[in-house]
Symmetry: C2
Subunit: 469 residues, 2 copies
């Protein structure tokens, strides 16, 4: 589809709506908005506008809808699927001024926040009131809560506390045509027609722009125990994962890391960490709760399961500092791997017990295509981040053969009952693979839903469904 360009006249209207200081058009100011954290992709918008409230977003969308100008909403810019990239140019709406925590309602254990609040800032604000908002992606220090919702983001605690879908109660959304709606109610249960709140979650800014958020909060667990298990092979570690749940324990985190990833973190961050020979993989396992006796009992069960599953060493973190150090290894892994090589990241998810088969398959596929990979992720959820490393692969092979390799990985994922993305989204970079998992009938339902919300197709075009602008 051929969209219209932003004219000088429309720019003037942007300035009238949001204020002259909140409209950017200079190339060097646009640079920041031309990429997210998805590999090395750059797409420049024609203009960036930073609105301050829902009404301004509404006016911007009405205007762009009328003039057939593409609009890309952007949160913290930490996305890994390119969903915030303005592939068709046009207007980029940055939500950075929506940074207020409107209300933390301690009576109802709910909070109302704007989408541009940094996730960790919000988590700390509720923690100050002894409450927990448990959805903490690795990028929590820079990502926005609105972007988390738009992408169905996860993080390590989903395994115990449930997905972001369980915490988002209600959303104020500006539709592509400019109307403002609340998608649901501020209630823990909802059986009042098609659930538009749930439909917005994970829709990657293609159905509307989130402008206010009501989330559920829960009590903060007082204590936790953190373990690090070392394994001679990846597959041993992966096998231990489902054994832990089967033993009746639900950890508050269960993270997998390959040795290579840990090595690169040590190098990148100049960490002191005793990496023993013969160890190929690690599990970080946390249990949390209110009663230390319960936690000790759970940790003992985990310890036993680990031993039965080939674990050669179990480290119990004995201080907050040591816990923080172990978490730092896990959280720094993405950036240290990425600083080390040209890479391509995939976010596969399978039923938990299929992880050993997935891991085995990935390495086999790598061998046949000549690429290496570093894997880590939320093993408790069956969610594995695969970083395909260019390493010694030739530029030509990387540019021509890699896609077939990725396709094989996705085919394996689907065969194992899984799907393309667990928490990063489809965005720009995975849409070409959607038909590996979804039939045309299925994709047409998605296209139909898109058209209901966005009849002219102006909002975040070029994302999720293939063959739609």
């Amino acid at each position: 589809m051929l969209y219209n360009k932003i004219t000088e006249e429309i720019l003037e209207q942007f300035r009238n709506i949001a204020g002259i200081e909140n409209v950017l058009i200079e190339h060097d100011l646009l640079e920041k908005y031309a990429h997210d954290e998805t590999e090395d992709l750059h797409y420049y918008p024609e203009a960036v506008v930073k609105p301050a409230n829902s009404e301004q977003v509404s006016l911007l969308l009405k205007l762009c809808n009328e003039h057939f100008i593409p609009v890309t909403p952007r949160g913290g810019g930490t996305g890994l699927s390119g969903a915030a990239l303005p592939v068709h140019g046009g207007l980029l709406i940055s939500m950075e001024k929506f940074n207020k925590i409107i209300d933390i309602d301690e009576r109802n254990l709910q909070a109302t926040v704007e989408p541009g609040v940094i996730t960790e800032v919000f988590m700390n604000a509720v923690a100050d009131k002894n409450l927990l908002y448990p959805v903490d992606p690795s990028s929590k220090g820079t990502c926005f809560i609105g972007g988390n919702i738009a992408h169905g983001s996860g993080g390590p605690r989903v395994v115990k506390y449930g997905t972001i879908r369980e915490y988002v109660l209600n959303l104020e959304v500006v539709l592509p045509t400019g109307e403002i709606i609340w998608t649901g109610a501020n209630t823990l249960k909802y059986a009042s027609g098609y659930n538009l709140t749930q439909l917005m979650i994970g829709s990657e800014g293609t159905l509307g722009i989130i402008t206010k958020i009501v989330v559920k909060l829960i009590s903060r667990p007082l204590h936790n125990i953190l373990l690090l298990g070392s394994f001679p092979t990846n597959e041993d570690a992966c096998k231990a994962v489902s054994a832990i749940f089967r033993a009746g324990v639900t950890p508050s985190a269960l993270e997998f890391m390959e040795r290579r990833g840990v090595e690169w973190v040590i190098e990148f961050d100049h960490l002191q960490f005793d990496l023993k020979d013969g160890v190929e993989a690690f599990l970080i396992i946390e249990v949390d709760g209110t009663n230390m006796d319960t936690l000790f009992a759970e940790a003992e069960i985990i310890n036993q399961v680990l031993e039965e599953n080939g674990c050669t060493d179990v480290l119990f973190a004995d201080s907050s500092a040591q816990k923080e150090e172990l978490w730092k290894i896990r959280r720094t892994m993405a950036v240290s791997v990425k600083s080390n090589s040209v890479y391509k990241e995939e976010d596969t998810v399978v039923p938990r017990a299929e992880l050993p088969a997935l891991m085995h398959g990935i390495k086999q596929i790598g061998k046949s295509y000549g690429f290496q990979s570093v894997c880590y992720g939320h093993a408790g959820d069956g969610n594995l981040h695969i970083n395909i490393i260019k390493g010694s692969m030739s530029d030509e092979d990387w540019n021509t053969k890699l896609k077939s390799g990725i396709q094989e990985i996705f085919e394996l994922t689907v065969k194992l009952g899984g799907t393309l993305s667990g928490e990063h989204g489809i965005g720009l970079v995975q849409r070409e693979f959607m038909s590996l998992k979804y039939s045309e009938i299925h994709l047409n339902l998605m296209r139909g839903i898109k058209e209901v919300f966005d009849p002219k197709g102006i909002l975040n075009p070029g994302k999720i469904t293939p063959d739609v602008n």
Copy 2:
């Protein structure tokens, strides 16, 4: 819209598809399918077909779509919003033959079941393997798991274990046009485009017919403690509810019951129960887990909160038998209230701490219209079932004035941040009130989604959205 009638020729095709013994047309055989548990409503289908597999459902829907014949899917017939009533006649598809538990996957803690499995049968089957499927509506002994999903059903344990949305991973669905899709993947996380699984949940059989279900299972808690708190007023009991959560405890059930409801259960069920003077309301509170010390500590915190909130008596159930007796009171309440008077049930839900205001308002509205009410429900979720009792209200007032009273209750609910239904759905009987909560823009999105899935409008017409057949 004027649908076509089922001709003798089409009936013959139904028989070819599903077998002659699975097609019913005799009036007395249709009676069972002409009502659910929604007050005293009866709508006869022209024919009932009991298909045995997805392919038969697909052929039936293709045929009816082609001939513009309305189709109403039906589960266990325990619905409380009339969503399974064939208001336009036509074909009723009974899912009763879809009664197989296909697989309980202990490696992945998942199960695959057919939609016609009785919820309690499924719960018991997974309990035999020491696993828990925690979504247990009061009707669990007769309702179908497919109906639960179609309605976003809840039950007492949502308060701790989360809604049914957290447990349904993937659905096989036959679309109104006959195509068969799986809505998602068998994974705990999912960020791969619009979430059609979540869209199907609570869509009340208007977007497709569920034919297979994959759910998440969790470890079964080993122990529980059950308390019954007695209160001098409804509002005291309601106030205690949010205080319990604020004290840092998340009970596995937190149920409210009005005295009148308990009286009627005692009468209906000939129960031995010492109902003390001056007690107007009760809370049933359960905590569960793996460690008895933790549970005792939690029970002690609850006990203290109850005392601080006007509770006059706390009973600790001291045996399984006594626990079962208390649960029986709560579970029998619906049927005993309904056997006592002409009634109308509403399923309001508000933010938890607004329950006292809701309760106060309901009684005030009752006074001004001359009706009484018996309330009970999942107070921990802010979900209150209101049974409006005809009592001494004249037939004329009941038939003419009641609607305004209900409208006032819903207006109050919405004003308190709530919505029309927490777990019973909109179905036939609440659709006229939808515009109290939702704007035309919002309702048009719902209508648009319906049209994407069901362009000819043949599947379960007359439900959810007003002004759509």
